[in-house]
Symmetry: C2
Subunit: 406 residues, 2 copies
């Protein structure tokens, strides 16, 4: 048996844990050749791939080192497969898979990538291809994947954000004058990460994060102004955690338009609203006001949750194993009922995930205290434990592809 | 004997190590009362202060926990003492110091704060005050303090920047298309921190950081465009490390003016140029281009260099000790000649530091390779070793003032 593994979509801090899991499962299940496609499905289309050297993988402790290495080590792509199954691209992909005698293809990615998994399986079905199983493995920091309790990648990003908000609070409190600090956090359509900034407050007797603005909640500029004014009565230095996709309901600050129309992948550039809002509040309230964009560091940091990393590993492992007998599936996490955090693993079809988005439940957004309570119960277990880095010369050293490939 | 300690200027990740050092020295030298002024000199003027509880300090391991706690725990200010020594402010300060029987006042801060130390000593001299010694203790992440080999605070910021650049490189390499990522790093007039991003490259066979722009070097927009074009011939995804104070020589992108005239302390807002440059390059070179501002996180992160923290502690310790017999001095670091990194401690007068700035030497800036070589030899020893954080519930927990004060 041979297999191929690829990574797609935006990086996370634990996407390589899923890769490590899939490789480990292939080794444990006596796969002959374990291929790694570079830059997602594009590597298969272009024939750019590597092969795992099982001896080196073990010898160089690549499993543990992959679990400490943020961002997609295989590279990624944002390639959307054509709707037309007769398109030449499909032929190229399956010619490659047959040539290399691939039995299992594991695609680690987000909802766009699960669309790829879905289409490849439709192609398999229509063309009656036997012996090639295509399995998805979920990842995203945004936690907006449907059909599961939470997405691998979210816990580590939430941990980084909560950790960073604690240090930002330490900075913000330094001066004895009124100030507003708006922290812009990833999340285009869902506010999971912005909301998880509230974890920073856990165990403190005062709030470190004072206001949270997420795309799921409607606020006018006037509402925001009033929120800030009221908070400033209680607290000198206020911190607002804001999802990058949040806008005031009237889009009052959207003109002039944001710097560019798209990021090169047809996703519009949405960040930068925090800066505008900071300017607006400074002007209106005559208060020191600034914005901090956490930017790409939040999806690629070495602040990795052990819980998240272990779960991502397990999902990768299960994905590869599922592919031995089945196709068109994605392993996912379910949370067991009960006081203590415990998960079970099951699987769903890509149709449940592809092109869909999970948002924060409406009843969590009733008021700030409810959101704080709900998100803490939900996300605190996901940020537990730390993954140690290997330091050399004062900096973390990451595993390289050459450490475990031929 | 009594003493008082205060922190001033912008936070650093090790400014509390200097505080820990000063407190420890006061305990070791049998000071009776150890006061802590809140928000720098303003605490003395307003009578806002705390007193160290020596038993709690020991019992709660405050020394070690302060050395792991980023950002000024006593708060800070940007208060500039009046030039006129007859101003009422001086009277207020010395009335307080006499009332509390203060023999030693240690002021931990940057070049603005050393101006305060200088003025207080001039006041002491003119008014023939005996028994009150005012000593400075240096800190700044910018490394622009004159009269010393390097500033405490710089090593940790450099460590955070180099560390973060490694993770940004891991993110940037993910897509198989040309891209430019501009990382905006603190430094208004000196490029020490931007240059120290080059440490990220150490031990790698390819450059992780491709271009460095610092305020000390003149570049036109055309020069930058050509630099980027040339680098893109060798490397698909290029990273530019840019000091926030860097501008193209013609200031072509300065209009419309930056968001606000000052940050509330009469320091102009200088950040945001990276975003404009990213927009410009995207437009000119038709390339995916983005900016990442490291922002306040770089001065307040938990990525603390053990070397830096230990040196900051020692300087705080020496500052308090110096104050027992002398006034108008600042302990500083000197680097010993020789292959291995070793420092000695000496002291200088505040006049050498106050209101001055140390820039990167001209001969380091001859070309990129020279800068890489020079900054590596200079700064690599300063980022060695890690200070462990105490984690609870997946997040770092910091020492609080109430853990070691009455």
């Amino acid at each position: 048996m041979n297999c191929i593994i690829a990574q797609s979509g935006g990086p996370t801090s634990v996407i390589n844990s899923s890769l490590a899991g899939a490789i480990q499962a292939a080794i444990d299940n006596d796969f002959d050749q374990i291929f790694l496609s570079l830059h997602g499905i594009e590597g298969i289309i272009k024939g750019e791939f590597l092969e795992v050297d099982k001896k080196k993988f073990k010898l160089n402790e690549a499993k543990d080192r992959l679990m400490a290495r943020p961002s997609s080590i295989l590279g990624s792509c944002r390639f959307k497969l054509p709707e037309d199954l007769k398109d030449e691209t499909y032929n190229k992909i399956f010619t490659f898979l047959k040539e290399k005698d691939i039995n299992v293809f594991v695609y680690i990615g987000g909802n766009d990538s699960m669309d790829t998994v879905k289409k490849l399986n439709t192609y398999i079905l229509y063309n009656k291809i036997y012996g090639i199983n295509v399995i998805g493995c979920p990842k995203t920091i945004d936690n907006d994947l449907n059909g599961m309790d939470h997405s691998p990648g979210f816990g580590s990003a939430a941990k980084y954000i909560a950790h960073t908000l604690r240090t930002i609070r330490a900075d913000v409190d330094v001066y004895d004058l009124e100030s507003v600090t708006i922290v812009e956090i990833m999340g285009r359509h869902a506010g999971w990460l912005a909301a998880s900034s509230l974890l920073a407050d856990y165990g403190y007797c005062k709030d470190l994060v004072n206001l949270v603005y997420v795309p799921e909640v409607d606020k006018s500029l006037k509402d925001i102004e009033n929120d800030v004014k009221n908070k400033l009565k209680e607290e000198k230095n206020i911190i607002i955690a804001m999802a990058e996709g949040f806008r005031d309901i009237d889009h009052s600050l959207d003109k002039p338009m944001f710097s560019n129309t798209d990021d090169g992948f047809k996703h519009p550039v949405v960040s930068g609203f925090a800066k505008r809002l900071a300017d607006y509040l400074r002007d209106k309230l005559k208060v020191k006001s600034r914005s901090v964009e956490l930017n790409i560091v939040q999806r690629t940091s070495t602040c990795i949750s052990k819980t998240d990393s272990d779960e991502a590993f397990k999902l990768g492992y299960l994905a590869l194993k599922l592919g031995i007998d089945k196709s068109n599936l994605i392993p996912v996490l379910r949370r067991k009922e009960g006081k203590d955090y415990e998960v079970s693993y099951t699987e769903v079809e890509p149709d449940l995930i592809a092109n869909k988005e999970m948002k924060i439940p409406k009843d969590w957004l009733k008021d700030e205290n409810t959101l704080r309570e709900k998100i803490t119960a939900y996300a605190l277990p996901l940020i537990q434990g730390e993954v140690d880095q290997t330091y050399e010369n004062g900096m973390p050293v990451f595993v390289e592809l050459s450490d475990f490939t031929k």
